[in-house]
Symmetry: C2
Subunit: 316 residues, 2 copies
């Protein structure tokens, strides 16, 4: 009952196999991939799903969906300080993903794999679903004992974030037709850039790290709780780009509770040479607060506590 | 936009995290799992999807679905000769998978993980789908250069198969109400047993190997084409268990074209001590034919070519 229908096998052979050029993938012709892991490294594994209508919009360009499927998983590797090696992909497709969609998806996937220099090792394709569900497992490696996690923030540490916050939330509003389109901001939503160089540079330096996928405040709350501390974040310091949102507290909170930025949020001991890391990895880094006693996240503006009840993206 | 809704995070924390007891899983609290691979081994990766209504029936017991999701992936590791280490799971759930379903699924998953001594390392859960789509990535390890594949069958090799063929096809008919239920045969469909011990013993011995997931003949055809040879299979030798099907050629072909058996099909040089392997791994093994010149599969009965046009499970 689990046979790949002919259409699936044709798709795998004609569209996916040409992308699976690494020796490990064995041309997608065997029951699995075989890989010799690098000596003296630990491995990092992550698996994230993008579901049509939940994580992306049905009319998003297929090449952007492929990019995002890879990028959100590589962002998890970045958050752990890992270097990507290979991925396995689980494509569950519906009739809506027709031949044109599949061709655009695989073309975009090929470009994304090449861009991030990561190998397609294998996976599975199923058709006949009601809506597309796309899963991806990413495998990376890191020096032993240096994988980053959420649990190490220490009281007195500085809190840092890369890039700018809220751009993808604006991009989502543009994709939904709620705001006039600005291509750069739309791409922050559709084609996020995992902070891979930064993540690797932070391994062994940051005390705690995670990627900002659901919103700065909710993710900071998770990091804080995993570390048993409070993250006091100065909203006025949170880096933003220009856009339709203003510098009002309401708009700053809207940015800090919007998802999909895929920036890195990390803590580091005061005095760590984060400025040098920023230069070495060509990544804008901004200090946005301090780790203090307590539990959870606290958003401050002009010294006042403006922590909202809704911290980020949580449907239901 | 990719935030786990509260219900998903509760499910992960309350139901899945207790199963993720290995150090590598980090309590499912970080962005990924961290694992130190065993020295001097190559790694094998596989990812298979089970979609509700395609690969299992909506009214199948959830604990059996969990078992099967794990088993079909471990069967791919077995087919490569690998020893399982850990898995990542991508659960896409619909409203039909209610609290009772989820409780039964995770209970069954826990038992299956314990049975096969494999660790749950991580994954992702998404709710709000129209129908459930369950993905699993399995990671195993094998001695360098000894991973099995489909491409090594040599002319003159013997063809072997483990266990018995066609049982799961009968079990599927029972699950669908087309045949009166025989619990043992129904379980061959719902709770397949990956041939892990056999697979590991075959590494370095078999010239080619794969698991029989879509039907003996279609899978033999794939192995034959990957190896550039013909597999001449003697239908009279194919091992079957008792059941409603008879020994007629039609019924033998029905068994040999039914899917979901998850037995291992392999080739080995004539003179290989396969009998000793059978004893050492406590696995019934039957010689069912010989590798000859040509391409593809050939089914023989009483010396006559009875190869059917439909070789196995291929919808559309």
């Amino acid at each position: 009952m689990t046979a790949p229908p002919k259409g699936e096998r044709d798709f795998i052979a004609s569209a996916l196999a040409p992308l699976a050029t690494s020796v490990a993938a064995r041309g997608l012709a065997d029951d699995g991939a075989v890989w010799a892991p690098p000596l003296g490294r630990e491995l990092v594994f992550t698996h994230d799903i993008l579901a049509c209508g939940v994580h992306y919009l049905g009319n998003d360009p297929p090449s952007d969906i492929a990019w995002k499927l890879l990028a959100v998983n590589l962002s998890d590797l970045a958050a752990m300080g890992a270097r990507p090696a290979g991925v396995l992909m689980g494509l569950g497709l519906s009739a809506a993903e027709d031949d044109d969609w599949r061709a655009a998806f695989t073309a975009g996937l090929g470009r994304a794999l090449a861009h991030f220099e990561v190998a397609l090792w294998g996976g599975d394709t199923v058709t006949g679903l009601d809506r597309a569900v796309l899963g991806l497992t990413a495998i990376g490696d890191v020096l032993p004992g240096q994988a980053l996690g959420r649990g190490g923030a220490q009281i007195g540490d500085d809190i840092w974030v890369s890039g700018s916050i809220g751009d993808a939330g604006l991009g989502l509003a543009m994709a939904q037709g709620r705001l006039p389109v600005d291509k750069a901001l739309l791409n922050r939503f559709r084609r996020p850039t995992p902070r891979l160089a930064l993540g690797r540079a932070l391994a062994g330096v940051a005390t705690a790290c995670m990627d900002v996928s659901d919103g700065l405040l909710i993710d900071a709350d998770r990091l804080a709780r995993a570390s048993g501390v409070r993250l006091a974040i100065d909203l006025d310091a949170v880096p933003v780009t220009a856009g339709p949102w203003t510098a009002s507290i309401a708009d700053r909170l809207a940015r800090a509770t919007a998802g999909d930025d895929y920036e890195l949020l990390f803590t580091a001991a005061t005095g760590s040479d984060v400025a040098a890391l920023a230069v070495a990895t060509k990544t804008p880094l901004t200090r946005i607060g301090r780790v203090v006693e307590g539990l959870g996240v606290q958003a401050l503006a002009g010294g006042a506590d403006v922590t909202p009840s809704r911290l980020g993206w949580e449907h239901r």
